[in-house]
């Protein structure tokens, strides 16, 4: 029954967004350090994300999650392997994807509204249209009264929301999110998770979501990829078969707790490994 629902959801998404499929094949990444040595960040990563799917990546700090997200979005290249989005190799950031960064990176010289408009402006969208889109999104995230404030005047949680709105503004098919709620307090986090779940369901986005938080991963995702210590490899690809839309009480269901415990077991093994 739940599987049915998901099937319907995916079919709906696939119907209009064929380009949403992400395929990652054997991606490896090294970084050169100052001393001339190399850090092996990612080791033969492979997975697929179907259109409309919400997939989380969880793993120990420094295992290469952010790097993986950057590679998939085309911000950096990999030394081995390839990434296909909609069947085409990724060579640079494509307009179909948008990223919410771990450190938010709002531009301090732009007001909230103009930060949300940024992506549209880069695409040459006219001023009135940009503004309308930005205002609509600001209303959605409840920050319309802060439209003319500068980022330095916003709280951390507000900034995170603006970062999300900025990514949504370009109406991407693919949303890459790097620990968007990592720096938030527990309450704000739960509220924003709920909002994100609603938004993603409403707009049928394909999401690749990096997090440290097991509960967050299970709550939001259709699948959770658990990564090992550096060099990052995928330990397990866990399917989350919980009904949608998910309300907060799903967090107390036995299946939810079981999945969370399973992720924890995998991660705990990694904590000891280093």
């Amino acid at each position: 029954m739940t599987a049915d629902l998901q099937h319907v959801r995916r079919a709906a998404a696939t119907g209009n967004e064929m380009s949403g499929r992400i395929e990652v094949h054997g991606v490896s990444k090294w970084f050169a350090t100052k001393g001339g040595e190399h850090v092996h960040a990612l080791d033969s990563i492979g997975f697929t994300v179907e259109p409309g799917e919400f997939v989380s990546i969880i793993g120990p700090s420094g295992c290469g999650k952010s790097t993986l997200l950057r590679i998939v979005h085309g911000l950096v290249g990999a030394e081995a392997g390839e990434v296909l989005v909609g069947g085409k190799p990724v060579t640079g950031p494509s307009p179909s994807g948008a990223m919410v960064f771990q450190s938010v990176n709002l531009y301090p010289w732009r007001t909230t509204r103009r930060n949300v408009e940024f992506g549209l402006e880069m695409r040459g969208v006219g001023r009135d249209e940009r503004r309308a889109t930005a205002d609509r999104l600001l209303e959605m995230i409840g920050l319309q009264s802060f439209a003319d404030a500068y980022p330095s005047q916003l709280s951390g949680g507000m900034q995170q929301r603006v970062g999300l709105a900025r990514a949504l503004a370009v109406d991407p098919t693919l949303l890459y999110m790097d620990e968007p709620f990592g720096a938030l307090d527990a309450q704000t986090k739960v509220v924003l998770q709920g909002e994100l779940a609603l938004i993603v369901e409403q707009f049928k986005k394909t999401v690749l979501f990096v997090t440290h938080d097991m509960e967050e991963a299970v709550f939001l995702s259709d699948r959770v990829l658990v990564m090992s210590n550096r060099p990052g490899q995928i330990l397990e690809d866990i399917t989350v078969d919980l009904p949608r839309p998910r309300a907060d009480d799903v967090r107390r269901s036995p299946e939810f707790v079981r999945l969370k415990d399973h992720v924890w077991e995998l991660l705990r093994g990694e904590q000891h490994a280093e």
């Binding site: 950057r70 979005h73 911000l75 640079g92 950031p93 494509s94 307009p95 948008a98 990223m99 960064f101 450190s103 990176n105 531009y107 301090p108 010289w109 940024f118 992506g119 402006e121 880069m122 695409r123 500068y150 330095s152 370009v170």
Partner: protein, 254 residues
């Protein structure tokens, strides 16, 4: 005591001390506050304001040129390896040397007239503007650039929407510093060829008319301070989000 009160007391005290010192030392050695005041009146009634205006005009021309050249040059040096390797090296070499040592050479190249003074003002200030701009560009948070790339910004858009803004506090600090050095360049060039205010200062110094001498000195210092203040105001007007970088830290990008 509030800060203003402290200032009134201490600065007032310094003025009084200056006055007393001037009266004890006598006009040959030092001009008192009142003498400097009357020196200012004399300077104006002698019609020397036109000389000041003439010097200011050269100052503005030289400074304006240095802004037009320095900011783009700084962006090129800061943003590209080619710029750094071909331009940055020379800017830095000029920076550690003494431009003053080139004065005898510049006279041969440009004569002793207006051109020389504009060139000296230009060179004195352009280095600071260039180097500060370059430091600002180089110090832009890499994450801002990555963000722009993730939204598909072109190189031109990156320059226009990210680099210029990110470097703005540094550029403004460079413009202020450059202004200060432009004024220094103006003074030294005029002293060197003994024209304009510089010539006047040489005369007044030689004949020990310190009242007018001090007055001119204060005027020139005021020109420097007012320009710097104005640049700061403009910065805050154009970029209300930015902080004003002060002092030495500002221009070295620390």
């Amino acid at each position: 005591m509030s800060r203003t009160q402290q200032r009134i007391v201490v600065w007032g005290g310094l003025l009084v001390a200056w006055q007393i010192f001037g009266m004890i030392a006598g006009p040959f050695y030092f001009a008192s506050v009142t003498e400097t005041g009357s020196g200012l009146v004399q300077f104006i009634s002698n019609g020397h304001l036109t000389q000041l205006a003439e010097s200011l005009r050269q100052l503005l021309v030289g400074y304006g040129l240095s802004v037009l050249v320095g900011v783009p040059a700084g962006i090129i040096i800061g943003a590209s390896l080619i710029g750094e390797a071909t331009l940055g090296v020379y800017v830095r070499a000029l920076f550690v040397t003494s431009l003053e040592a080139m004065l005898p050479f510049f006279i041969l190249l440009f004569g002793a007239g207006l051109q020389l003074r504009v060139v000296v003002v230009f060179l004195f200030s352009v280095l600071y503007i260039t180097i500060n701009t370059a430091a600002g560009v180089r110090n832009i948070d890499a994450r801002y650039i990555e963000t722009a790339r993730s939204f598909g910004a072109s190189r031109l858009q990156l320059a226009r929407h990210v680099i210029v803004h990110g470097a703005l506090p540094y550029i403004a600090a460079g413009l202020r510093l450059g202004w200060g050095f432009a004024v220094k360049g103006m003074v030294i060039a005029e002293l060197w060829v003994t024209t304009g205010l510089g010539g006047l200062l040489r005369d007044l110094g030689g004949t020990r008319q310190l009242d007018q001498y001090f007055a001119i000195t204060l005027l020139i210092v005021a020109v420097g301070a007012i320009g710097s203040w104005a640049i700061e105001r403009v910065q805050l007007l154009v970029a209300p989000w930015s902080e004003v970088q002060r002092g030495v830290r500002g221009f070295k990008g620390e």
